[in-house]
Each structure stands twice: as C-alpha cells, then as structure tokens.
Point group: D2
Chain length 128, copies 4
C-alpha cells in the first residue's frame, strides 16, 4: 500500500480499498481477455458502480503487500456483481471482504445491454 493511502491512524484509509477493487476489476477484465478501457472507448459501454459494500476485518499498513482476489458473483444482461477478498501477502490474513454491483450503461448514462462477447466472458450464455 502507498504512503498516500495511509491516514493518521497509521493504516490504509478505508476509502482506498474501493480504488483497489477497481484496479483489480480492470486486471480481471484483462485476464478475461479484454481491456476495460477498450470496452469504454470502442463500445461506449460503461459498468457504473451502483452499490458497494466493504467489511474491514484488519487494517493494512504502508508498504504491506496485499493480494486481492476478485470474481464475478452474478451477472445478467444489465447488472454485473463482483466479489472481493483482500489478504496480507505475508501472512495470508484476511483484511477485507466486499462486493460491488455494476449497471451497464451507454455513453448517455442510460441503461444498456451488455454486448454478447462481454457477457460470454463474464460467464453468461450468449443471447443466442
């Protein structure tokens, strides 16, 4: 964790974990086979966060290495939900569990259908 992410209690400020979740979602998409930024740029599809939940079990500290696991918990043509677990790399202690719910919207910020190829990658059957 970065120094900038700590607060005066000497631990990582709690809002920063939402940023880490986002970093991991982007990596998750890359692992699935697409770049999140290309989905935004080329398909004008955005997965906006409509709900987020974090349970903070232990604090992380500056320069701790944190391992973040993410998975798609559920998904349909309009809503994708991710789940997260963060652990200290050194000890495997669980730091946080959380989830985020995302609505698929177009450039006009209105609800849109998730295009087939992304749905397939998120583990959905294609709309055949």
């Amino acid at each position: 964790m970065r120094y900038a992410e700590t607060d005066q209690m000497g631990v990582v400020y709690h809002a920063n974990y939402l940023i880490w979740m986002e970093v991991v979602r982007v990596e998750f998409c890359t692992a699935l086979g697409f770049r999140y930024r290309d989905m935004e740029r080329d398909d004008k599809i955005f997965l906006v966060v409509v709900e987020a939940n974090c349970r903070y079990l232990r604090p992380a500290r500056f320069d701790d290495e944190v391992v973040v696991h993410a998975r798609v918990k559920s998904a349909n043509t309009r809503v994708v939900q991710f789940e997260y677990e963060m652990r200290l790399a050194e000890s495997d202690e669980l730091l946080l569990t959380g989830w985020t719910k995302h609505l698929c919207v177009g450039a006009d910020m209105k609800a849109a259908r998730l295009p087939d190829r992304y749905r397939a990658m998120f583990g959905l059957k294609s709309s055949a």
Copy 2:
C-alpha cells in the same frame, strides 16, 4: 464537488463519497458538542470503520452542491452505526444512501468501551 473528485466519465468517482461521509461525521460530532479530533487526541478513542455500504442512485458532477444528511442509526457501548443521505442542493434529487458501522477502539487498536459522555451524545443512556 471538487474537480479532483471527478473521473473520466465526468462524474464524481464513487470512492469519494466515503470521504464525504467522513467529513459529515466530523461535522456531526461537532454539532453534538465535541470535536472528533479531541476524542482521538484526549481520550485515545477511535471509531474505526468496520463496514461501509453505498447505494449510488445518481451521479454528482463537478461543482454540484451536495447536501449530506447523517444520523446515528444505532449505537451501543462498542459499535456506532451512521446512516447517510446525499442530495443535490439544487433539485433535492437523491444521489446516494449509505451507512457505516464503526467499532470503538483504543490507541492499541483493540476494542474499547465508548466513554459515557460520547455515548450520551450519540443518544444512549449513560451507564449509570
């Protein structure tokens, strides 16, 4: 909302609302009759966030004035839960509902009892 708080979708980045909740908790404590920083400094009592939840209903944008309402939803000698509502000042549209749960800890980061005078202010009966 600040320019720094926007992201490339042109709206306020979702993690920033947790920061706004914290800003409002501090003001809430002041309205109750104490400064949050004095509780930390003088009593070595910290209200660490152990869970947080946000439902994002509409996005805020740069330079929008946002009104945040906070209240104590529940409290006991160890845990305090706050609830929040954020609305656009101009239109009164609801932007966000959320809550945070806080554990009372001492300087050693171990669970502690919330001192009587704070409990009274948070709407609890004093431990007489």
Copy 3:
C-alpha cells in the same frame, strides 16, 4: 483538513495541497464573476496545469482550518499563472506558498486563445 487527507505521519499528505489550490481556483473564478465549469461546458475552454510548485513550510493537521489566498500572478492570451498562500486560520502561520501555470486549451487539448471576457476578468486588457 479532512481525515482522508492525513497520512501516517499525522499530517496532511503533501499531494492534497494541489487539490486545495484547485478548489480555490474554482472559488476565485466565481469571485471574478464566472463559474469555471461553465467555461469548460459552454466555451470548451480548459485551463490545464502545465507546471506546479509547492513550498511546504509547516504541516497542517486533521481538522485544522486553513485559509488559502490565491491571485493571478501573470496572464496572457495563452497562459495564466496563479499564486497561492495557505495559512492556519487560528494562528495565521504560513503553511505553504506555491504557484501553478495553466495553458489554455480547447476540447481537442490543443492550445487556444483565452476568450476576451475571461481575459478581462483575469486582469488583462481586452483584445480591442
């Protein structure tokens, strides 16, 4: 200053002062008679930061009230430079001096001329 703005040294993290400068620039524009966001939205004119300098003299702490003074140091049709001074409200102690240099660009991120009415407000003679 916000809790989120502190770091583990118990003081405000140095990058946050750049954000405060931006907050004050926006207020400065409002005081001059226009909203910064309207300049972006209606005129597609953006004042991008091309250089920034901060001298940190004393640290600010959580919940300190900080007074920020800003002024236009120099301006021409393409570049505007702001200067800042931040002081503790309580003691008037100087915390920071700094400046930012801004290039006027259009929506295409290419250099543009600052429209006359903004130039007049920034203290320049109109291009009559």
Copy 4:
C-alpha cells in the same frame, strides 16, 4: 494509471503524479538496499517533502503504462533532492519532469541528521 486517478478531462489528475513520485521513491530506497518504512519505524527518521515541482508535458490516460525514472540529484546530511522523469511505456514520450526536496526530521518533526548508512546509500561519503 488507475481509473480513480483520472478526472473529467479524461486524463490523469495532476496531483496524482506527486503520489507516483512517492511510490517510486519507496521503490528507489528498496533498490538502494533498505525499506523506507523501516527507516521510519526503526530509526524514527522521516524524509518530509519541503518542496515539489512538476512540469506536465503531456497527459497520461487511464490504463496507460507509465515508466518513472528517479534519481538522487543532490544530498547532504539534512536535505535530499530527488529528480523524476515519467514516460509512456508504449511510445517513450516524455510526460513529466519534476523534483522533490526532502528534509530529514525525527519523530518530533524537528530537523535531524540523516544516519550514516542511509547517507552512504544516497551516494554520500560517510561521516568518518
């Protein structure tokens, strides 16, 4: 760069580069042979930022890979100055040049001498 680091102009918000400089300083110390956090924790020595300067040449965007070069520009027993260059990994285009000046302080936030072993690593002769 992270999504959280962008602003509504679609580019990385300028204050975030100071955070990247700090991330790189920490890595730089590791490369020199010590962990920055151990210097703080074990020696109670802190390198506080007393001045910072950034020249922004081109904007970075979300998901751009950025390569940051840092070096010690000058150092004595009380002050260390770092220089930075950031480039787009893909094209090698220069995004930013900057520097930060750090004062060596103790836990009391008063000026202190940089211990010999760190001075040696920062390229100074040991005080023999």
